[in-house]
């Protein structure tokens, strides 16, 4: 009896609430499912007024990284929309999930160009490189951001740089299948791409060259060029100033900036009046390599004897003197 009264009271309390909820909800509470979307967008001939296709291939989408997701997870403004929806949709915010990458992108030159410089169609957003409904992992060789596809992807806008890059030894190595060969993103990064003409960028990229060419950067650090740039100052040569940036070639190639026949011109970019004798300078010296420079090897040898000799002798001399003098002083009353 008591239980029945209790249930009655509870029902009496809940009824107005349930009724209110039913009144407040919009007629269609369910967001559109992927099937709802494909009902229209599955039609391959669906086009916008300006002729751009609006078709989405459901099989491509389902095979993509985002396959398990709902259309409205990205097209979030359609979650509460009635179908057919308005033609103008809000921009997809990849950063709402990929927030760390979104932050990097927003600080990049690409985002700056798009949002501040007004290059709304020319500057890339996420989709320009990653695609839209067919996004694949960067490890998938069909992906536009797969390592070996990167030059082509960046080159779809930066076509002049792509042509230059294709002439260099790095592109040749990449084509031969050497996956260590640098592509655009190794130096420029993927999402935090900055202007490449700032001091900060020019100085920082040396470390990138050194991630493969470690010994070469070490020898560079022994030079005036290397030391000044290491201190964080410019106006002296870093890697790209002598070797070029995108079309780096070995000295044995006549087209290389560091080919013997072109050295006078290359050094002469900064050292006006450089001559054949001047360019006998070694920008990557190694005092331990006799074959590379006997003079430097001998200079190194000489100081390896002189410096320890001087300090050894006078260090001992001072120690003995100190010991003797302190003993003398102890004796004094």
């Amino acid at each position: 009896m008591t239980a029945r009264i209790g249930l009655l009271c509870a029902t009496a309390c809940l009824v107005p609430w349930l009724a209110g909820a039913a009144v407040a909800a919009p007629p269609d509470v369910k967001p559109p499912t992927n099937e709802d979307c494909v009902a229209c967008h599955g039609d391959a001939s669906l086009k916008r007024d300006d002729g751009r296709s609006l078709a989405v291939d459901a099989r491509h989408f389902e095979a993509s990284m985002h396959g398990p997701m709902a259309c409205v997870d990205c097209h979030a403004d359609l979650a509460k929309a009635e179908l057919p929806h308005e033609p103008k949709l809000a921009r997809v915010q990849c950063g709402s999930c990929h927030d760390d990458i979104g932050g990097k992108y927003r600080d990049s030159i690409h985002a700056w160009a798009k949002d501040r410089a007004g290059l709304t169609t020319a500057a890339p957003s996420c989709a320009s490189c990653h695609g839209t409904h067919d996004i694949k992992a960067h490890t998938d060789n069909a992906s536009r951001v797969f390592r070996e596809q990167v030059p082509a992807t960046c080159g779809s806008c930066h076509s002049g740089i792509r042509d230059t890059y294709d002439r260099g030894i790095h592109a040749a190595a990449l084509k031969k299948g050497d996956s260590r060969a640098p592509v655009c993103v190794d130096c420029h990064t993927t999402h935090s791409i900055q202007r490449a003409d700032t001091d900060k960028w020019r100085l920082g990229v040396t470390a990138e060259c050194g991630s493969c060419h470690a010994g070469v950067v070490d020898s560079f650090r022994r030079t005036f060029h290397g030391k000044v740039t290491e201190l964080g100052f410019t106006r002296v040569a870093a890697c790209a100033d002598c070797h070029g940036a995108h079309d780096i070639l070995p000295a044995s190639n006549a087209a290389s900036m560091v080919a013997p026949a072109r050295l006078v011109a290359t050094c002469g970019k900064c050292h006006q009046g450089a001559n054949e004798r001047f360019v006998k300078y070694d920008p990557h010296p190694n005092p331990r390599d006799y074959k590379r420079s006997a003079a430097l090897w001998w200079a190194n040898r000489f100081y390896w004897v002189l410096i320890p000799g001087c300090f050894g002798f006078f260090g001992l001399h001072s120690l003995l003197w100190f010991r003797r003098s302190t003993k003398d002083q102890e004796k004094r009353p």
Partner: protein, 292 residues
């Protein structure tokens, strides 16, 4: 009376015509040009070290901050060239004076003998005696005007300044240098400039500071290079050879000078203290860069 004869200098007997006057308490060791030369070398050397070390130790965490003290790398480079020119000028001027005095005025004592900076057999004898003295095997050497370690310092500065000056000029004017020298000489010049600098800096900030100033008996500073004079007893004790030679020749009183004025002493102490502190600070930076 024997005891008095030992203590009392004999110049009253050797120069009977001179009026009897009390013996001077201080004797001249460094004349004014020499003292000025030392201060110039001291300032330019510290300046060269402070402005050159950011490049020599460009990978040290303090390198950039030290360069910023001179308004960045370009400011440090400008100051380095200025100090270098002054030092090179001072050393060349000194050499010119020495050559003029030795060969024009005929002061052959500059080239050989007890007053000369040129290493001589007695220096090796003194070194041997000093080492024996270190081990309680004999009396300290009876040094002449310049000891063997002072001569080493002198020639080290001379050799170092000329060599680093030459290398520095090659690096400063590479275009002009490349008319005579092949480009790989720039590599050698930079290496030699840096290696010689390491040697010079550590030598001055450790060995010279110890020998000249920090050793027991001189600590914290020997003021002679700033005042120019030493107390009579000090010269007798530390340069016994020179003292007795001059005493015998009756020439000791020619070196007599008044005791240094308090202002001169104070100025010397300040200059020396600043120099020593800067030197020790720079040496600590080098130690940090090498041992870290």
């Amino acid at each position: 009376m024997t005891a008095t004869a030992v203590v009392e200098p004999r110049d009253t007997t050797s120069a009977p015509a001179a009026p009897v006057r009390p013996l001077s308490t201080h004797l001249l060791r460094f004349d004014r040009p020499t003292r000025i030369l030392h201060v110039v070398i001291m300032i330019t050397f510290l300046g060269l070290a402070a402005t050159g070390m950011p490049l020599l130790f460009s990978d040290a965490p303090w390198a950039r901050a030290l360069a910023m003290l001179f308004f960045g790398f370009h400011g440090a480079g400008l100051a380095h060239r200025f100090f270098g020119l002054v030092l090179l000028g001072a050393v060349v001027w000194h050499l010119a004076v020495v050559f003029w005095r030795a060969f024009v005025r005929g002061e052959s004592g500059l080239l050989w003998g007890p007053d000369s900076m040129v290493p001589q057999p007695r220096d090796f004898v003194h070194l041997y005696q000093q080492l024996k003295w270190f081990f309680h095997q004999g009396p300290p050497p009876r040094f002449e005007r310049f000891t063997y370690w002072e001569k080493f310092d002198y020639w080290a500065v001379l050799w170092g300044t000329l060599l680093m000056g030459a290398a520095g000029l090659v690096l400063w004017f590479p275009m002009a240098a490349s008319r005579i020298l092949p480009g790989w000489m720039f590599n050698v010049a930079l290496f030699v400039h840096g290696a010689e600098a390491t040697l010079a800096i550590v030598f001055i900030f450790v060995v010279h500071f110890f020998n000249g100033h920090l050793r027991p008996g001189k600590f914290p500073m020997d003021m002679v290079i700033f005042t120019g004079s030493v107390r009579r007893e000090e010269l007798r004790r530390e340069r016994a050879g020179q003292f007795e030679r001059l005493e015998r020749a009756g020439a000791l009183e020619r070196l007599a000078v008044a005791p240094p004025a308090p202002a001169v002493l104070a100025r010397g102490r300040a200059t020396g203290a600043i120099g020593l502190s800067v030197g020790v600070a720079l040496f600590v930076l080098i130690l940090y860069a090498t041992l870290r």
